[in-house]
Amino acid sequence: MKWEPVIGIEVHVELETQSKMFCGCAVDFEAEPNTNVCPVCLGLPGALPVPNRTAIEWITKIGLAFNCSISERSQFHRKNYFYSDQPKNYQISQFDVPVCHDGWIDVTVDGETSRIRVNRAHMEEDTGKSIHVGESGRIHSATETLLNFNRAGVPLVEIVSEADIRSAAQARAYAQDLRTVVAALGVSDAKLEEGSIRFDANVSIRPVGTEPFGTKVEVKNMNSFRSLERAVDYEILRQADVLDQGGTVDQETRHWDEGEGVTHSMRSKEGSSDYRYFPEPDLLPIEVTEEWRNEIAATLPELPSARAARYVGLGVDADSATSLAGSEPLMVMFESSLAAGAPAQVAANWLTGEVTAWSRRESTDITDSALTGQHVAQLAAMVEANSLSSTAAKEVLGHVLAGEGDPADVAAAHDLIQISDSGALESAVDQVIGENEDQFARLAGGEDKLIGFFVGQVMRVTGGKADPRAVTDIIRSRIG
């Protein structure tokens, strides 16, 4: 049978506010364990939560960036479950009325754009962290569990998509775009490897052409976009295998194992949990008035889609514009290149071409390379002035990225400067004419194809550094 995947993504974003969601403790993950704690975030008897207004502002920003409606009054709920790193044994979260609801973003894969609806974005608090101490470091054989509550109470935004995603590649694109937007908003450092942004996927499959959803499986523990794509792909194939063999898919949570490239069932831990949500009596409803919402909307930075359109307006091709606008490091480098005077399309070509390739090959972020916008502009100017060929420019770029210096120094050090000095070129041309008088007579007599031969000879004597167009001009002037 042919199967169609149906995928929804849940994202948790830790907000980088100064203080936690419901107390004054600092949000700082580098701190010594259990130093950023107080009666509120430790769940001591008698302590009460007070909401962080900045966090409400920032979730509203996120909602607006994803084209959500913002609730004028939304409600905190208690989500009840016992877990040792959860101080109160309930999490303050939201249930039936989230701050943000009914939004969307457009996601493009292989030139095809689809609208993915965002069901909701709601405000909640993070838990502490458990460190299991034991011989293997695994929870089953742990002899001791250490608890660090520095993260407990950090503001967390959960963004839930509709099940509109139809492929692993689209899931990845959605996640990447979402991360890009969140990073652009400046509300979170949004680092997957540090867990400040976390993605879970709900995956089910159904026969192509049918409507009803299949049984969904929640896949967790993906800590890169690549592992998200791999995990979703794996899960689609696994479910198809199960169904093709006449089996049934269990509704469950599965863990992605990056090393083995498979998902494992976690069924032992979670039954069908009843969180017994009820309105949080310690907190009043969250109010985002129209006036406040408009103030927040006015502070939204340029979002990737609008930015891409602006780049196209500068003459950049559509694909490059989307790539540049969608990647924070590329965007920053491109903007600073433009500011330093680089032509838009030239800079765009290098950044989406050589620079991106280098970044992938070296597994190094562009922002961690030696390249600056000044370098890009300088390089472009050298090509413009014919002192570098475009091939040589790409070579220079590689050396600059590797930290060898600025383009002029690198080009000189690697002897890549084109000879465009007319005196030097003229004497080279005259030397070649003198050595090949017969051929020159034939050229002068109208055998025009010999021009290539002469240009080649000049390139030979200059060690390939002559500007071929200038050489051609000089040869023609000798004929005339």
Binding site: P45, G46, L48, P51, S84, Y90, R276, F278, P281, D282
Partner: protein
């Protein structure tokens, strides 16, 4: 001459200001009284003798140098043991918190400390404030100073008994369904629950967050008004705290009731109420009428379902509020093979039967499939009660009823019958559900010599008129005097 332990707050403050007493002498007087009464009464779980005397000495230095910080400076007060006191054991009368030393002061405690109050100690309560007799304490019951065979009421029975016995000049209780007013009635005191949100809950061990309020237990209405004013007011640490200024408690004291409209709630003044209590209630109403109040009879039909709604909402909230007591970070820990096992064992062993009963009830009421029929329905009843009360207050300035259905009962009389214990709060619960202020004033003694209370209820932020009416009732009623304790008399 009156023993200083029997002073009202107003009398004691006057004596301090006049230089006839020192705070240390007052504190010694209540500590001495406690040393005589505690073996029989057991009002306190912790007496902080050295802390109290140190605070009294500091108060005396301020007073003698003319820098007294207010009407409570130097006055010995008892705190219910569900209020966080920095460095002083706080248990909520639960084994699960035995030995727990809080690292911080709750807002009310901090305010009283700044006002110069001297904390005698921490008083007994029904575990986590769940009960109406102070028998549900892990550390043994408190007895009523008026008759040691009877209960002081609850859950603030320890504070009520301490004030009645003279082992503190005043006390603080917390009221979730009547836990200040019912013990006040049973111990012959004034007990007051403010409008929800007027007094900060920060540092009060939560029982039912949407109902809990801290309030005073005192000998007189004026004392209650003064103590109320000291603890009320906005607190940025409590998100449910009322943002505006708290209404005055003292400004209309002595203004009488002439021209005020007083409503009798039919549903709270008949069925299930003891004859002597009803007689005292009627006498008081007649006196109010004679003093110029207009008496109006009202029906508030939804109050009939208030008790049922309360016993869904309060347990539901407590089931979450008490989840934090799990043996992980503080308090009792009974080890187990796994963390989950440790938590279950700790909670099974650490909580008493009434607390477990309410956690189970609340957990059930919030469960998937039952939420709407139980918790949801209870919230709808609550909304109805709020609407009915609001409509009633269009017609009258205050509502009145008996406080408790009967005078103090004997220890053990209701411990095997939770429902009859729950009925103790039938008249007090509606004001918790509506969030309105209410208070109890003593209006007489039964034939067996036990105090009888009278409840005055007012609309939200109606404290001023409520204290005004309560002071008039106090004025119109016969003084019930103080309990006579043989241990003290001899």
């Amino acid at each position: 001459m009156t023993d200083p332990a029997d002073f009202t707050l107003v009398e004691a403050a006057a004596a301090l200001r006049a230089g006839q007493q020192t705070s240390v002498a007052l504190t010694e007087a209540v500590l001495t009284r406690a040393s005589l009464t505690e073996a029989a009464v057991h009002a306190y779980l912790t007496i902080d003798r050295s802390g109290a005397l140190a605070a009294a000495e500091a108060a005396d230095r301020r007073i003698s140098s003319g820098r007294a910080v207010g009407p409570l400076d130097g006055l010995p007060i008892a705190l219910k043991d569900n209020m966080m006191t920095r460095g002083l054991e706080t248990t909520a009368s639960s084994k699960i918190l035995a030995g727990y030393i809080p690292p911080y002061d709750g807002t009310v405690v901090a305010r009283l400390r700044e006002a110069g109050a001297v904390f005698v100690g921490k008083t007994n309560l029904d575990e986590f404030a769940m009960g109406s007799s102070t028998e549900n304490s892990a550390f043994g019951p408190t007895r009523n100073p008026w008759n040691l065979d009877t209960v002081p009421g609850g859950s603030s029975g320890g504070s009520a008994a301490a004030v009645a016995a003279g082992s503190a000049l005043a006390g603080l209780g917390s009221d979730t369904g009547g836990s200040i007013r019912q013990p006040a009635a049973l111990c012959g005191l004034v007990g007051m629950k403010p409008t929800y949100g007027l007094v900060s809950r920060y540092g009060l061990i939560a029982f039912a967050s949407s109902l809990d309020q801290i309030g005073p237990l005192t000998h007189t209405v004026e004392d209650a008004a003064i103590l109320y004013e000291a603890i009320a007011g906005h607190d940025p640490l409590d998100a449910t705290s009322f943002p505006g200024p708290a209404p005055s408690g003292t400004v209309r004291l002595g203004a009488g009731v002439s021209g005020l409209r007083v409503g009798i709630v039919n549903e709270l003044s008949g069925q299930g109420i003891d004859d002597e209590v009803m007689a005292a209630f009627r006498t008081t109403v007649e006196r109010l009428a004679a003093a110029g109040a207009e008496i109006v009879e009202l029906s508030l039909p939804s109050t009939a379902t208030a008790l049922s709604a309360y016993y869904l909402i309060a347990p539901a909230e407590c089931s979450a509020n008490l989840a934090r007591f799990d043996g992980v970070r503080y308090g009792l820990r009974i080890d187990g093979g796994t963390v989950d096992e440790m938590m279950s064992r700790t909670r099974a062993d650490g909580f008493g039967p009434e607390v477990i009963r309410r956690i189970l009830l609340g957990t059930y009421a919030l469960s998937a499939g039952y939420y709407d029929a139980f918790y949801g329905q209870a919230q709808r009843v609550r909304t109805l009660i709020i609407q009915e009360f609001a409509a009633a207050y269009e017609q009258v300035d205050v509502l009145v009823s008996p406080t408790a259905p009967a005078p103090a009962f004997e220890l053990g009389a209701k411990t095997q019958d939770p429902l009859s214990m729950y009925m103790q709060d039938i008249c007090t619960i509606p004001s918790n559900l509506s969030g309105h202020p209410a208070m109890s004033v003593p209006v007489g003694l039964s034939t067996t010599g036990l105090p009888i209370g009278f409840q005055v209820m007012a609309p939200a932020l109606g404290e001023t008129v409520m204290f005004q009416v309560a002071a008039a009732i106090e004025e119109l009623s016969d003084d019930i005097g103080r309990p006579v304790l043989e241990v003290v008399a001899s």
